[in-house]
Symmetry: C2
């Protein structure tokens, strides 16, 4: 840490680094013809202080164990981040001029395509939750000494997710977390609400229990002292509220509105700015060596074998219960598995894991956005986070899910309480768009087990799979369909009923699978033979089995799902067969659901055995 | 208002009302066999004070103009709300025993199927943003005197959306808004983070600039005094931080964990609780008359005709610009139209409306959740809110969109900056799942205009349509396709190219429509005649035109969209033709996008003219 070592020579050298970062940011955005130089300039002194004095890291290996972490929450200041790493020596400065082009990973906003980025930013308010995850990992899981720094904008501090993270960070006493708010007064379209009311900022953060330090964000000595005070603070996180000027150092931009997201024009305008900045460089010969981290011994993740599920055929087990059991067993077998919940652990059954592994379980209270961001932070540290809540409440964190997908984050989401089959609690608690929202995201695996055995095995497969997974785990108890040795795989399906005279393939998953099985028997009694497929893997989808089945059942499919009609299981099947000339009839929840008894609602909303039988009769008529 | 009129007799009568509400809540949940009696009991005194002393409203007509508004943000306390309205005389108390059944609208959580509910609650943290909308309507739009009360739980105050609303409410100086936090210490699965740390709550709310009053939530005189102090406070909103006990009045439940969401068992357990509560009733003969509101004269919404769009054929116009122009023109024609933005008004072009109609424009800064909730609140007051931001950032508010759909709220969402065609800013700013998320919700109309004229007309149609609408308004300038007299309708489409020898129907919308037109010309030069449809209405979809076209083009469709492959335009088309034996090929964005130039990205991600031509050649081969 800095602090005692501060000297006038060092301050000059740091000032020059900051100026150099401004120069590179202006140059790159001008070359790109777009970007946010003014947002870079306000934060340049903060970033220079962190990268060239405060942080311990290896500039040739950003992922080196126990490195201090830096999250640029105000992702639009990406050129500043890129300039800092180039200045630190990770890659040639000439690369900076490829900013925002298709052939460079120095994109408009940072993504983990870059080795020094833990999570994509650019949707504001996400950095602090991610920082919470990084800090929880150090404090509770790895029990190591790295510190986490999150640089936010002032405009973004209106985002509620920031305050969720603030509350949870305080609760977990994350004194290894330091946030910095770059209070540059100007938003995109207007001044911010608080402008330079630093006391307003202080009151908010102090009110949330943080060590809140107001500092001049352009005074290098003051910044170093503030970072030092953060490092010496125990039992609570610190926020530096840095008063800055947008466009600092370039008189045409500095503290002027209408310079958000606008580069300086090539030619005179840019040259004048670069000349002005260059003139701010002071004579200095002092080097600023970067202190590398001390790496702890690595821990192994896999430490045992997962016990097999033990449900007897026919035994009533709720998928959510089987998830809880599998997660708890996973905790023993894989030390990298961690879990997060949001005050519903006694409904999602993550409480079993939490009791066994208190250091690897994180209660987020009712803060779903923070939960998702923290999970992505933990995943960036090599952990395998399972994140559970009611499926409906993942909608609260959809932007975080979107950004995690862009980041190819290795998080596993488990949504319980899906569909109308939850019953009496009514529409607000029913996840009916979760498949649509998850499957829309690139690279997300979507699983939907019907029974306890399948759920248990898919939880294991999810942990082993590298990438984002969503598992839909229903609320009601259902009879166990599969024996303990049954094999499942991502992209698989099971044909549960078939005969040589089948005239229709019924495809279902979760609760509606049992309705399909009932319908199968009723139709059989009517002399109509139908095939029934358990489509437990929705993305990827077992296209071969689906198409082959449909072809042998006169080219006809009927899908049934406890989900809204758009973007669910039915649409996934339709997509798989779209070029095959196969007809697909869809049963799904249409219209706004209602409170009632689960069975009654399944029937009422047209996804029960009665509707399946009626529809099948129509189709084969 | 109460205050000076408070007497011991009145306090006794109010205490009895609170006790009666507890009795009804226990009775109804026991009869239903599920529900949250303990969460009702903690808040019963607060609700009794509001309904039988503080609020001015018409108990026979909850929608009476200028009535004080009450939002039950902690929606799981629904039985308490229902009991209050029954007690006020709106419907017979015997109805309360139909709680949570399919044949009653007294659902597990409140929805606007009930005349006294403005917005569905039950997903926590949504009530305060809705309250902000109700209060903004009174203060800024209708300029009338009703007050808005929002009852929240303590657990839910961790939700970030609460703090977004807190910040925006303070900024707009909503002294007609009073929040109450029922601090009953216990969440669903654990005690809350702050438990009964009332100073912790006070510091947070005061830090956010609210008049924060800590009060004993079971002391009727203290509650009335606090509400009185709220009513007398000017220039800032008030929050009552009410220290309460969960399960208050029923000793088996009071302040005990594990009583969240659990009814008292039928028989002895429930009877004992009811006996205990009944014994708390005190002798009283005092009536508590409810003061009705004084209604202002009603204003008419429609005051003029919308000017026609004036774009010349071929003129380059960005759909987002045309949206801004139409919205501004709408402002003149319909006085009920209001607009909301979240610090991107100079990108969405809502700034034109904002400058002309400052009293009907609401800047939410970077607080998308509050923006959606406030819009739903304004819609509940008969306004027609247009809500604009980058399409990607609607993901931040998806839970609010979900609840607005359940509420059949009359809000109009406009997402700009859609798809890879935004270019250099990169994946974090690209809306690529917006059609999937919007179309999944029941009753939401999804429109996607390609040119300025169509955009302008669809904005008008959206305003006239009763129900939720999402309009996808692209960023780049595109040539104007339609003359000012062209007619559009919700559920319509336009065949832009056709010939008797067409062998394929290409369906596109937005930027890809222009790629399809280019491909049409290139294919024509190769001797391949294709039809091109502008599918500007995705939900509902012009099934007749699509099917008829496909049938006359050898049963083949090719869809092209600047959206992820799942849940977009292609899947909507697939669904429409799923039983017709028509083959559908889909071009969409697959994989994670990248920064680059718009045209370059459209081509690179396989949705440009080159890919259309190649795919079409394969299909017709």
């Amino acid at each position: 840490m800095a602090g005692s070592m501060t000297s006038p020579e060092m301050l000059t050298a740091l000032h020059n680094k900051a100026t150099q970062l401004r120069i590179e940011s202006v140059r790159a955005t001008t070359e790109a013809g777009s970007g946010h130089p003014s947002s870079c300039c306000s934060a340049a002194d903060i970033v220079a202080a962190l990268f060239f004095s405060v942080m311990r890291y290896d500039p040739t290996n950003p992922k080196a164990p126990n490195s201090d972490r830096f999250v640029l929450s105000k992702g639009h200041a990406a050129p500043l981040l890129y300039a800092a790493w180039a200045e630190a020596g990770l890659f040639p400065k000439s690369d900076l001029l490829k900013l925002r082009t298709l052939t460079s990973d120095l994109e408009g906003h940072p993504t983990p395509r870059l080795s020094f980025v833990d999570m994509a930013t650019g949707s504001l308010g996400q950095g602090l939750p991610v920082g919470v995850g990084l800090a929880l990992n150090a404090k509770s899981v790895d029990k190591t000494s790295y510190r986490t720094y999150v640089l936010m904008g002032d405009g973004e501090s209106v985002e509620g997710s920031v305050w969720e993270a603030a509350d949870v960070a305080r609760h977990h006493r994350l004194d290894n977390l330091c946030a910095i708010v770059d209070v540059n007064r100007l938003g995109q379209s207007d001044p911010t609400m608080l402008e330079h009311d630093m006391e307003g900022y202080r009151a908010r953060w102090a009110g949330f229990g943080w060590h809140a330090v107001v500092v001049d964000g352009h005074d290098m000595a003051a910044l170093l002292a503030a970072f030092d005070s953060a490092a010496r603070t125990t039992g609570q996180p610190t926020v530096l509220l840095a008063k800055t000027y947008k466009g600092r150092g370039v008189s045409i931009m500095e503290n002027h509105p209408n310079w958000h997201g606008k580069p300086l024009a090539k030619g005179d305008e840019a040259q004048k700015a670069l000349d002005e900045l260059t003139a701010q460089l002071k004579p200095s010969t002092m080097a600023l060596p970067i202190t590398p981290p001390v790496a702890p011994p690595e821990k192994t993740g896999l430490v045992g074998m997962l016990a097999a599920p033990s449900y007897k055929l026919g035994e009533p087990v709720a998928p959510r219960e089987a998830f809880g059991a599998a997660l708890s067993a996973l905790g023993d077998a894989y030390h990298h598995v961690v879990a997060l919940d949001a005050d519903v652990k006694n409904s999602t059954y993550t409480d079993k894991f939490g009791k066994k592994f208190p250091d690897r379980f994180f209660e987020n209270f009712i803060a779903e956005q923070n939960m998702l961001g923290a999970a992505a932070g933990l995943a960036a540290c090599g952990k395998v986070p399972f994140v559970a809540t009611f499926a409906a409440f993942f909608t609260r964190a959809y932007d975080f899910i979107r950004m995690a997908a862009i980041s190819q984050s290795n998080i596993k989401l488990v949504g319980t309480h899906v569909g109308v089959s939850i019953g009496e609690d009514g529409p607000s608690q029913m996840g009916l768009e979760d498949i649509a929202m998850m499957a829309a995201q690139p690279g997300v695996t979507v699983l939907y087990p019907a029974d306890g055995t399948c759920t248990y095995r898919l939880v294991e497969l999810a942990a082993q799979h590298k990438g984002m997974v969503y598992l839909r785990a229903g609320r009601p108890k259902c009879p166990t369909l599969y024996g303990p040795d049954e094999k499942f795989h991502i992209g698989g399906s099971k044909i549960l009923r078939q005969s040589p005279t089948d005239v229709l393939t019924i495809i279902a998953a979760g609760v509606t699978l049992f309705e399909a099985l009932k319908a199968h028997d009723q139709l059989k009694a009517l002399g109509i033979a139908v095939r029934v497929i358990d489509l437990y893997s929705i993305v990827p989808l077992d296209r071969t089995t689906v198409i082959d089945s449909a072809r042998t059942t006169q080219g006809r499919i009927l899908t049934v799902e406890d989900h809204y009609a758009h973007g669910g299981l039915g649409d996934a099947v339709l997509d798989a067969v779209s070029t095959e000339g196969i007809t697909v009839h869809k049963l799904a929840v249409r219209g706004i659901p209602h409170s009632g008894k689960p069975d009654e609602l399944v029937d009422h909303f047209g996804i029960g055995a009665r509707s399946i039988v009626e529809t099948a009769k129509q189709i084969v008529k």
